[in-house]
């Protein structure tokens, strides 16, 4: 048993990580689905989209061959509409509320249609937005992830000059670094960032990390306002013995490496345990399998009824051959010669409902041991509490506190996205960026 990289050939990697939701093959295929859309009034799909994309309208526009108008409808509500069409858990958002579900018929493939329109916009470089003349106002955005990019785009359209400070050497944030490679490619993420910034008035400065290369107080002095879209950090520690053994890795780091170093460079064990059952746990488990692990076991302390990932995501893991151990809580990681060799788990049972409304797992006497050489931790991410503390932002366990106008406790500093909510979907971050931009516009007009 060993954790090694380079397990597959280039062709095998390409096959393992090919696009899991391929686009429509042609216009006719898209039109068949577009024409199925009933064009609901006050449509449930709009209400179920955190960014409120006018779904029936953009689908109707595809049906009338007004694809440019369709892309504008999507992107004016969600500037990362192209990426969201690939990574959104639509089964619990727009497609999940499509009225066809109530007829027991397949819902409209909204994501695929959204991809159809937005991919055309990106590949043809349609100029769908005009930037108003510069107002001379300057705003600093920290983080070129979905929240920051979305905020910057709205601001720049209104004539604000935006500078984005990004600690990585690429934009896109979690989209680029934190999502399974079979959903979006690095090339796509880069194209999407470039498309967003092609509006003009948005300068992205890479390798600029808050707290290291820049400080909030400097930015407050240099800019008229600041927006924090710094996201969240690494996986929550398990706080069990053996966490420091070689072979225990963080899911976020694992996915980051796949996205930033390429498939052959990332080492994976023969027998892998993934702790947790959120979207990130699925992305880690499936990709461990696809990188060549012979056995992947997802260990989750509750049951399928309480799992945070969607059923569609769980199906991906099952189809990839990942094993599932429900009602199993890791107790200790044991090793030989400093390397992981076993995961000791306790069997749980469901007790009373907890604060999240889900029945909480209660320990039983029973335990079992999994023979593993790698353990991936994916039980939620932790906010950048130290950083937030250091910058003297008011927070709750590291999550930045904001008021209803998206303002933090610091004057002229606004925030939104994962750094505020602790970690939600890309589409939620996009909306938070829009909200932040509107709040900043109101702030700037009030203070000028």
């Amino acid at each position: 048993m060993a954790i090694v990289n380079n397990r597959l050939t280039a062709e095998e990697y390409a096959a393992q990580f090919r696009d899991i939701h391929p686009p429509f093959e042609n216009r006719e295929a898209a039109l068949v689905e577009a024409n199925r859309c009933l064009f609901c009034y006050d449509a449930p799909c709009i209400k179920s989209c955190p960014t409120g994309i006018n779904v029936p309208k953009f689908i109707k526009q595809i049906a009338t061959d007004n694809v440019k108008g369709s892309a504008h409808t999507i992107l004016s509500a969600n500037i990362m509409g192209a990426g969201c069409s690939k990574v959104c858990p639509v089964e619990k958002l727009c497609e999940g509320s499509c009225v066809y579900n109530l007829l027991h018929e397949p819902p409209i493939p909204i994501a695929r249609l959204q991809r159809y329109a937005t991919e055309k916009a990106l590949s043809a470089q349609w100029k769908l937005f005009e930037r108003k003349p510069s107002t001379g106002k300057r705003v600093a955005v920290i983080g070129a992830g979905p929240a920051g990019l979305s905020c910057a785009h709205v601001l720049s359209r209104e004539g604000i000059d935006v500078t984005i400070f990004e600690k990585e050497n690429k934009g896109g944030g979690l989209m680029t670094y934190g999502i399974a490679a079979y959903k979006v490619t690095p090339e796509f993420c880069e194209a999407e960032v470039n498309y967003i910034s092609s509006l003009g008035g948005i300068e992205i400065r890479y390798n600029q990390e808050l707290g290291k290369d820049i400080t909030l107080s400097e930015l407050q002095q240099q800019y008229d306002a600041v927006f924090l879209g710094i996201g969240v950090g690494l996986a929550r520690p398990l706080n069990i013995p053996g966490e420091a053994l070689e072979g225990v890795v963080d899911a976020i780091r694992f996915i980051y490496d796949i996205r930033s170093k390429g498939y052959p460079a990332v080492a994976v064990g023969d027998k892998v345990a993934v702790i947790g059952l959120g979207m990130t746990a699925i992305d880690a488990a499936t990709q461990a399998k696809r990188l060549g692990a012979s056995e992947v076991t997802i260990v989750y302390r509750r049951t399928q009824d309480e799992m945070p990932c969607t059923a569609a995501e769980l199906d991906i893991a099952k189809l990839d051959g990942c094993q599932l151990r429900f009602l199993s809580a890791p107790q200790a990681i044991q090793g030989d010669n400093g390397k992981v060799s076993r995961l000791l788990c306790r069997v749980m049972q469901l007790g009373e409902a907890d604060a999240s409304g889900r029945r909480s797992p209660v320990e039983t006497e029973e335990t079992f041991t999994l023979e593993v050489d790698m353990v991936i931790k994916a039980t939620g991410q932790t906010p950048f509490e130290m950083l937030v503390q250091k910058e003297q932002l008011q927070h709750r366990q590291g999550k930045i506190s904001i008021n209803e106008r998206c303002a933090t406790s610091l004057h002229g500093v606004f925030a939104g996205g994962d750094c505020v909510n602790g970690g939600k979907e890309v589409v939620d971050a996009v909306q938070a960026g829009k909200d932040g931009a509107q709040a900043i516009l109101a702030y700037l007009s009030a203070s000028s």
Partner: protein, 422 residues
């Protein structure tokens, strides 16, 4: 099993489905294939003066995912040699003596020409003649086709010439390119035609290619008005058929119904409004002759269910139910009801009523699903919500009469009853 055979002025066919005069009836090879498939009869593509056709000839209207909802053509009458057509007609009659063989004719506008053509057609053994007074493209520019059908006096004159000579039944085919088909219909019945058929195609422009800016069908950068047909024209054909069935003069002769018939249901509707046989073209051009199987089986099963032994048990049965508006019962009132168990919350009924009708549906906000209910007092019973609802039987129209007695508009006025105050 019901008997679906038809006897049209002595022209017998095992079923009432004939192929209309058109490309599918232009040649022996097509007609034999049609008879082998089971078609009851054909009206051979129009014979007449020698013509030449262009390329392209057809265009269509697609609706959402449905191709050829409407169809248009600029093809002229048969462009094959007359003698070849006549020889093939007689061969088809000989090979399938139990099928109806009607030959469409369009001669130049002089008596001798018509007489000569009729003699030639009768020599083939054909069972009937259909006079093409309807073609609205090309031939009409030469004073034929719809140019004849649009002028009752010219139509009367030609039919008189024809009846002098013809010894087999004569059907006059009417053009819909008129404000009413009745004047020409009356004129030709008075001139002695044995039967009528309708409708021919409707003059049309199906659309313009938004890249080339040339209308369809494109003939080297130009187009011409074409004849419109297919499912889109059925309602217009049914209306025109009704006026023929209700007129005291034109209702004296049998009618062969034409216009967008694609299914047995369409056929039954034409027959209920007075057609004895029906003619099909576009559906056969789109799908081939095999559609005859369901046309026959569907009609037969429906007749069995309704207890109709022969087609004569229901031909014309619905004619009297179409009255003048003034005779409709004003006391009849219906109100929409939305079945909440079936409702999928699409809101289509709401927005249709709100923007397009009477603001009679209430929206109770929900996330993501709104609840829609009918405001009974506001509902005028127009059917719009039911028509746009995508779920079968979700919205029903329930009867809530305004008064027990039948009351029409004339009587309403006479009694000085109140008008709406909104």
């Amino acid at each position: 099993m019901a008997d679906i055979s038809a006897n049209f002025l002595g022209i017998k066919s095992p079923n009432p489905f004939w192929l209309a005069s058109a490309p599918p009836t232009d040649k022996k090879i097509n007609v034999l294939r049609a008879f082998e498939a089971g078609w009851g009869g054909v009206v051979w593509k129009t014979l007449g003066t020698q013509v030449k056709n262009v390329s392209s000839r057809y265009s269509a209207i697609d609706y959402n995912n449905t191709r050829v909802m409407g169809f248009n053509n600029i093809e002229l009458i048969s462009d094959r040699p007359l003698e070849l057509n006549l020889r093939e007609i007689s061969e088809c009659v000989r090979l399938f003596p139990d099928r109806a063989m009607v030959v469409s004719l369009m001669a130049d506008n002089d008596r001798d020409n018509w007489h000569e053509m009729i003699a030639k057609v009768e020599d083939t053994g054909a069972h009937g003649i259909e006079l093409n007074f309807g073609c609205p493209h090309g031939m009409n520019e030469r004073g034929m086709g719809s140019a004849v059908g649009q002028d009752p006096e010219i139509a009367r004159m030609v039919v008189e010439w024809v009846m002098e000579k013809a010894t087999i039944p004569v059907i006059t085919k009417l053009t819909p390119n008129v404000h009413s088909v009745v004047p020409t219909g009356k004129a030709v019945v008075q001139a002695g035609t044995n039967a009528l058929s309708l409708i021919n195609t409707i003059q049309s422009v199906t659309g313009i290619d938004l890249d080339t800016l040339v209308p369809n069908p494109n003939v080297a950068g130009q187009s011409a008005f074409g004849g419109y047909c297919g499912p889109a024209v059925k309602p217009i054909a049914l209306k025109m058929l009704t006026t023929i069935s209700q007129d005291p003069v034109t209702s004296r002769v049998p009618v062969s119904g034409i216009g967008g018939i694609s299914t047995w249901k369409d056929a039954a509707e034409f027959m209920l409004l007075g057609a004895t046989t029906v003619q099909v073209c576009t559906a056969a051009m789109k799908h081939g002759f095999r559609i005859i199987e369901d046309l026959c089986e569907g009609l037969n099963n429906w007749m069995d269910e309704k207890g109709f032994a022969t087609i004569y048990d229901f031909i014309g049965r619905s004619v009297h139910t179409i009255t003048k508006w003034e005779e409709l019962d004003i006391n009849y009132h219906i109100i929409a009801r939305i079945n909440q168990d079936k409702c999928i919350h699409c809101g289509l009924c709401y927005i249709a009523c709100e923007d397009g009708s009477h603001q009679a549906i209430n929206l109770a906000y929900g996330k993501p699903y709104n609840t829609y209910t009918v405001k009974n007092a506001e509902c005028v019973g127009c059917n719009l919500c039911k028509l746009v609802c995508p779920v079968d039987d979700c919205i029903s129209m329930e009867e809530h009469r305004k008064g027990a007695a039948y009351l029409n508009w004339q009587e309403y006025q006479k009694r000085g009853l109140p008008l709406n105050d909104h």
